[in-house]
């Protein structure tokens, strides 16, 4: 194949125009969870080399490689899913990461995301009676309001995912396809987590 000078210049200009949209790691707009210890999404992508060490070490199998549908750049990077298990805050993934994409942090500072009650899918918001997430939460970060509906305290939630795992909404309602409470990344308006010594240690 012969490339003329004109095609070459076209190619170069196309490649140099591409990065901003196609190559650069995008900030915000992210709707999935990173393993504990990931500072910011930009810093995480800068450092993660997709070595799967955190995936190997996770005892509860919540850290899993992202599929292509998460985005081309995020492909194969570790993400957290609470489909079959929850984070037991062993913090092993932060310890083994060789690249510094996950920074070693203490259990008390664990902050994967924040649980968000979906008012359309939550059974207790539609009709009182279900208190599963309130009972299961180890941090007492979910309480029942005066109408017996669960409400999350974002400052207390560390996103361990027990509530999402145990939420029975899909089993209780034939029409509901989503969990009534879903852990989402902490963005914009959500207040930061307040760290306390007792949190996560089982004392509270």
């Amino acid at each position: 194949m012969k490339i003329s000078r004109r095609t070459f210049i076209k190619l170069i200009s196309a490649v140099s125009a591409a990065p901003k949209q196609a190559l650069c790691a995008e900030n915000g707009r992210q709707n999935f969870l990173r393993p504990p210890g990931a500072a910011s999404e930009k810093e995480f992508l800068e450092r993660c080399n997709r070595c799967q060490k955190c995936v190997q070490v996770c005892p509860t199998n919540v850290v899993m490689p992202a599929s292509l549908s998460y985005g081309l750049i995020d492909m194969n990077t570790p993400v957290v899913t609470f489909k079959v298990s929850y984070c037991n805050s062993c913090m092993k993934c932060t310890e083994v990461c060789p690249t510094g994409a996950l920074k070693p942090i203490s259990k008390e500072k664990l902050d994967i995301g924040v649980a968000v009650i979906s008012e359309t899918d939550c059974v207790a918001w539609e009709w009182t009676g279900c208190t599963v997430c309130v009972d299961e939460c180890p941090l007492k970060a979910i309480y029942l309001d005066e109408n017996k509906r669960p409400v999350v305290i974002p400052e207390k939630c560390n996103g361990c995912g027990i509530c999402e795992l145990k939420c029975p909404s899909t089993a209780l309602r034939k029409t509901t396809r989503n969990k009534g409470v879903i852990v989402k990344p902490r963005t914009g308006g959500v207040p930061a987590r307040e760290y306390s010594e007792e949190a996560g240690s089982g004392k509270s």
């Binding site: 800068e46 080399n49 060490k53 070490v57 899993m64 599929s67 292509l68 690249t99």
Partner: protein, 266 residues
């Protein structure tokens, strides 16, 4: 003396590494895949994030010291690409570019290595890791694990084998014309040090006494001209032991290679 057919044991090492890395997932030990020792990954992360990943340094440096002594041994004994080639690949005709093209194409892997570090700096994430067959191979293994444990089949199960097939089985010359990781190994093994390579005993070699034998050259997956002190021996040899096992007169042995020093003396 009955010789150990080392090239037969090579597939055990190749598969063994993959099995250990997969088993680590079941046991819950973070041994990491080969990516934790990747020198190109280290450079790319350093370029993208502007700071050295200290957790990787020790492993990568000890790997590079082994490369100083043994050359591109990783390619022959550990790289999953070689495993795929051994299991699925056919021993078809080797594509040999013309002399003139070869001169430029030989530099391509080093250019790709430099280019991927530069693009990582611009884009802000390790770019080559996206298409690296080593990472994609382990990505596929863990995508299978994801399907089994989280019951979440992903597109990776289809895309990754497709990329691997395209890179390794359809485009057969990935390792010698693209792979920037092995290019870094070649660069490192250019540094003079105690080198262990196949060494020819010219007393018993058939082609040195005027006979027609090229078993070693034909068996060499890298196309190194073994009988004539090829300088590629120092940089390209993957220590796969194929030439040693194929030599009919047992003239090749794996030992300290001093030939280059002798050449300088003469």
């Amino acid at each position: 003396m009955k010789r150990l057919n080392l090239s037969k044991y090579r597939i055990l090492t190749l598969a063994g590494g993959v099995i250990i890395i997969t088993a680590a997932f079941f046991i819950g030990t973070g041994v990491g895949s080969y990516c934790t020792l990747c020198p190109l990954g280290l450079l790319q992360i350093a370029a993208a994030s502007g700071s050295l990943p200290t957790g990787m340094l020790f492993g990568t440096l000890s790997g590079l010291i082994a490369v100083l002594v043994l050359g591109r041994f990783f390619c022959g004994w550990f790289c999953p690409t070689t495993l795929i080639k051994k299991v699925f690949g056919s021993n078809g005709k080797k594509y040999q570019p013309s002399e003139k093209a070869n001169k430029y194409i030989k530099r391509l892997p080093v250019l790709i290595a430099a280019g991927s570090v530069a693009v990582s700096f611009l884009a802000g994430f390790p770019v080559f890791c996206l298409i690296c067959p080593i990472g994609i191979f382990f990505g596929f293994i863990f995508a299978v694990m994801k399907m089994l444990f989280v019951l979440e089949p992903s597109w990776n199960l289809i895309i990754f084998p497709a990329i691997l097939t395209a890179e390794i089985l359809i485009f057969k010359k990935w390792c010698s014309y693209i792979c920037p990781v092995s290019a870094l190994f070649s660069l490192v093994s250019k540094i003079p040090f105690v080198r262990f390579r196949p060494v020819l005993n010219s007393q018993t070699c058939i082609s040195h006494s005027g006979g027609l034998c090229s078993s070693c050259i034909r068996s060499c997956p890298e196309g190194i001209n073994i009988t004539e002190n090829d300088e590629d021996m120092n940089t390209k040899c993957t220590s796969c032991m194929e030439c040693i096992d194929n030599c009919p007169t047992h003239s090749l042995s794996y030992a300290r290679n001093k030939t280059n020093n002798n050449q300088e003396d003469l």
